[in-house]
């Protein structure tokens, strides 16, 4: 399972039969013609090999689905295709010619449009102004508003949404309408390939059907669509062929979307090529009698509902769930960074004041948030000041900071975490992602942290530093610190945690000791509603 199961050429024969039901092929787009071919594309970032040999083949008029876990390289791949990144090695062939897009505009001009999850529309401009943003039809420097509106109406008609007035402010449209405008923009560029990054994530259930209708309209016109979604039921409904990515590699190319068994798809997404090295769990997991953290019926509308959980001293509890399952919001609420609508958080038996980070920190909580750079670090400040950000006041005497002591403490932390480079006076900005994360975690090794909340602690962290972070987390637990860990990487949760909670759509759907769960079971639960039904079929 570690090597590629199908090369793009090998797989295309079976996949070819699955092409979109073409109603009418426009003269300029030959049905089934290969428009995009990626061969051995590699893209590395400092410390991370984001793409490590990607093969992809997309044909005109098909819906090509990309499947893969978080961190498999889907986002990087999109960015390579849309001209944001340039591949280090490997070839991108667009309509038979090798290409390298210098910037997103170049990709757009070549006919590749990308619709991101966060729609990049200008809310206070009209539909037609958004559709033609940056390439407005002009005459003598004046925008030809009438012409623009007419063409927008025409495009919206092609999308089956002639009812959207071109002069309506985008702000006034619902999410689904905004998505249509994004697609109208793609068509205004005469796009031949539209990449959709989890387009259904922003839509209500009944709006997804409409999205699919639009996608079918597009493919019927010979436009190719790359469709990314975690929901397998959607892939089965709209997709023609599937390419599976894992750890930056193509593990399977051009599988028929409709009748590839779910088990096959999941297997190709899981099973590591990268060895995760997890520290041994202590053999005698002696659960302390008292609970360290008790969360009771915690609720925030639209984020999570009625969540109860417990963490004992020295226990690592893992929460598995997708982005949007409410896991990060839950962690922030426990930490007091968000105010719950209902429910209580107790530390060592005492109820914490809701919505107060200060109270949580005083009670012995610490958190390494999801977004390292924007939520945890002062990038221009030296490492030691970042390490002591939560504790500098404790070392101060009568309000005067003791930088000597701070540096000594930070040095000690840097030593024990094997921070590289070791020098704590360097600005944090100059460190790699893994070492920045060590700084964030190291912050809570100072002071008397009793419970550490970790949100995606290894995101953007290279393999070596990961193993070190795992060791640190385990060592903390052995010292009696409770750890509550959130990760979208299932193997990480299973390998590190003593007990696992699975979250889906804001609810805890399963709780079990890590030993009783395996990766496929958890993935099934995490994506349920799609994979489970798929498996039954």
């Amino acid at each position: 399972m570690t090597e590629r199961e199908a090369s793009p050429t090998g797989g295309s024969a079976e996949g070819g039969s699955m092409d979109a039901p073409l109603l009418e092929a426009p003269a300029d787009a030959v049905a089934g013609e290969v428009v995009l071919r990626l061969t051995d594309v590699v893209k590395t970032f400092p410390g991370v090999r984001a793409l490590d040999g990607v093969q992809l083949e997309v044909r005109a008029g098909e819906v090509h689905c990309l499947l893969g876990q978080n961190g498999a390289g889907k986002s990087t791949l999109i960015k390579v295709l849309s001209g944001v990144h340039r591949p280090d090695t490997g070839q991108v062939e667009w309509r038979g010619e090798p290409v390298s897009f210098a910037n997103p505009q170049a990709a757009m001009r070549a006919g590749i449009a990308t619709i991101y999850q966060e729609l990049d529309l200008v809310e206070d401009l009209s539909v037609s102004e958004n559709a033609f943003l940056g390439h407005e039809p002009r005459r003598l420097g004046f925008v030809r508003r009438g012409h623009m509106a007419r063409r927008t109406r025409q495009i919206l008609g092609r999308l089956g949404h002639a009812e959207i007035p071109p002069n309506r402010m985008v702000r006034a449209l619902p999410a689904a309408g905004k998505q249509v405008v994004s697609m109208a923009r793609a068509l205004s560029h005469e796009a031949r390939l539209i990449i959709m990054d989890e387009p259904s994530a922003v839509l209500a259930h009944d709006e997804v059907g409409n999205l699919f209708r639009i996608i079918r309209e597009l493919t019927a016109q010979g436009i190719a669509v790359i469709y990314i979604s975690h929901r397998l039921e959607e892939i089965r409904e709209i997709g023609d062929r599937v390419t599976v990515l894992k750890d930056g590699r193509t593990t399977a190319a051009n599988l028929p979307a409709r009748d590839t068994p779910t088990r096959d798809l999941v297997n190709r997404m899981t099973g590591r090529t990268i060895e995760y090295v997890f520290p041994e769990r202590p053999a005698d997991a002696t659960p302390a009698d008292a609970d360290l953290l008790e969360v009771e019926g915690l609720t925030r509308a639209g984020e999570f509902t009625d969540v109860s959980l417990r963490v004992r001293p020295g226990e690592v509890v893992g929460i598995a769930g997708l982005v949007g399952s409410g896991r990060s919001e839950l962690l922030e609420t426990i930490y007091g960074a968000r105010r719950p609508e209902a429910g209580t958080v107790r530390m060592a038996g005492r109820v914490l004041r809701p919505g107060s980070v200060g109270a949580a920190v005083r009670a012995g909580m610490g958190m390494a948030p999801e977004e390292r750079k924007s939520q945890a670090l002062l990038l221009g400040e030296p490492v030691y000041r970042n390490v002591t950000l939560a504790t500098f006041a404790r070392y101060a005497r009568a309000g005067f900071t003791d930088t000597g002591r701070e540096r000594a403490e930070a040095d000690r932390i840097a030593e024990s975490l094997e921070l590289r480079p070791r020098d704590v006076r360097r600005p944090v900005r100059t460190l790699s992602g893994g070492n920045q994360q060590k700084v964030v975690v190291g912050r809570w090794l100072l002071g008397d942290t009793k419970l550490l909340l970790l949100d995606e602690p290894t995101r953007g962290v290279d393999v070596g530093a990961r193993a070190e972070l795992y060791q640190v987390i385990r060592a903390l637990a052995e010292r009696g610190v409770g750890v509550l860990l959130v990760s979208s990487e299932v193997p990480e949760v299973l390998g590190l945690a003593d007990r696992v909670l699975v979250m889906r759509e804001g609810r805890v759907v399963r709780e079990a000791p890590a030993g009783e769960l395996d990766e496929n079971t958890v993935l099934d639960l995490v994506m349920a509603g799609s994979l489970m039904e798929g498996a039954a079929a």
Binding site: R362, S374, L389, T401, R425
Partner: protein
């Protein structure tokens, strides 16, 4: 306080003598061990700030050279040069005090447009007949209390009322001037108190008392920013408010304190300005907010927060008053002066951007080599 000197050893020295690349052997060795010896010369925030301040001293020297060239007759007389330096410093003193408070607010990620209005309100309030009846102590207390109080209102509106700092302090600018006009009945209120008036005319060891006050405020500001938890919180809150909040720092409370500090500085400035004019009126300290913001920016304070130095701001104020002085001794108009000041602000920001850009490129290169 005895520990202040020894704790400062490794980091702060880098701030002051950073004009030459560091020769600290331990530092170079540590850096070389990483194969990144080139990084050491600017290492530490202090070194970075010092290099910017060095640039400002260069500007100051250039201005003096221009003075020498245009008025060699005056600069030939050493006693005139000394007294002229005192004139410049005295000119800088009031705005300088306001700028110290402003620097804290800007480093903390905010802006205070109401400083000029607070100075006026505090000055007017301190010189009402009723207040003057309490004597010099009562007047000083009144000015400080008014400054502090208005600053607190600013801070509470911004922190807890969630108003944008620009809007909240703009509103305060209008309101405080209005209240000052109301209190003074649009009249100039003469200060009858000789102690207060004496603040501006007293010299100690040949140096005006106003300059001592500026020095004391700058020193206190420097210590507060660089040596206390308050200063550390200020940098954290301005540099990354979310990170500060998630580290357990009470960002809202600290923001209130920052504006209160700025208001307090305005109260001090109000006494100084009232003493100089021996009177107060609602239109006093006009456009001080712009002078203070400009001086802080020239001094290298990042308008988006998280970075800045008190020394840089002080140099910014001194550069401005040197320009004013330069134009005065050459008999040129204030209009021309303002144009030059505008040019200097633009030039200062441009220079800093270029520095910053080369710095980021440099870091980008370095990052690739460390991995």
């Amino acid at each position: 306080m005895s520990d202040v000197t020894d704790t400062s050893t490794p980091e702060r020295p880098a701030q002051l003598p950073a004009q030459s690349p560091p020769v600290d052997p331990a530092e170079t060795a540590a850096a070389e061990q990483r194969g990144a010896g080139r990084l050491s010369w600017w290492r530490g925030e202090g070194g970075e700030g010092a290099r910017r301040n060095l640039w400002l001293i260069g500007v100051l020297v250039a201005l003096i050279v221009i003075g020498v060239i245009t008025r060699p007759d005056l600069y030939g007389d050493s006693s005139w040069v000394w007294s002229n330096i005192l004139v410049i410093l005295k000119l800088a003193s009031v705005v300088g005090v306001v700028t110290v408070g402003m620097t804290f607010v800007i480093i903390g990620g905010g802006i205070d447009l109401s400083v000029g209005a607070i100075v006026a309100l505090a000055g007017v309030w301190a010189t009402t007949v009723a207040t003057q009846s309490y004597g010099a102590g009562g007047m000083i207390f009144c000015a400080l209390a008014v400054g502090l109080g208005v600053g607190l209102v600013n801070g509470v509106l911004i922190s807890y009322g969630r108003l944008v700092p620009f809007i909240a302090t703009l509103a305060m600018l209008v309101a405080a001037r209005g209240l000052a006009a109301e209190l003074s009945d649009k009249q100039t209120q003469v200060s009858e108190n000789t102690t207060i008036n004496g603040i501006a005319s007293t010299n100690l060891l040949g140096i005006p008392l106003l300059v001592y006050i500026l020095a004391a405020v700058v020193l206190a500001g420097w210590v507060l920013l660089n040596r206390t938890t308050f200063g550390r919180r200020t940098v954290a809150v301005g540099g990354n408010p979310e990170a500060a909040r998630l580290a357990g720092i009470d960002v809202k409370r600290h923001t209130v304190l920052l504006y209160a500090l700025s208001g307090l500085c305005c109260g001090i400035a109000a006494i100084m300005l009232t003493a100089q004019a021996t009177s107060a009126q609602a239109a006093m300290a006009n456009l001080y907010e712009l002078d203070a913001i400009a001086a802080a920016i020239i001094g290298g304070t990042l308008l988006s927060g998280g970075r800045g130095t008190i020394i840089g701001s002080l140099l910014g104020v001194i550069i401005f008053s040197t320009i004013t002085n330069l134009f005065a001794i050459n008999g040129l108009t204030t209009e021309a002066q303002n144009m030059v000041k505008g040019g200097i602000i633009v030039a200062a920001v441009l220079v800093q951007q270029v520095q910053f850009r080369s710095l980021t490129q440099f870091l980008g290169r370095n990052r690739l080599t460390t991995n």
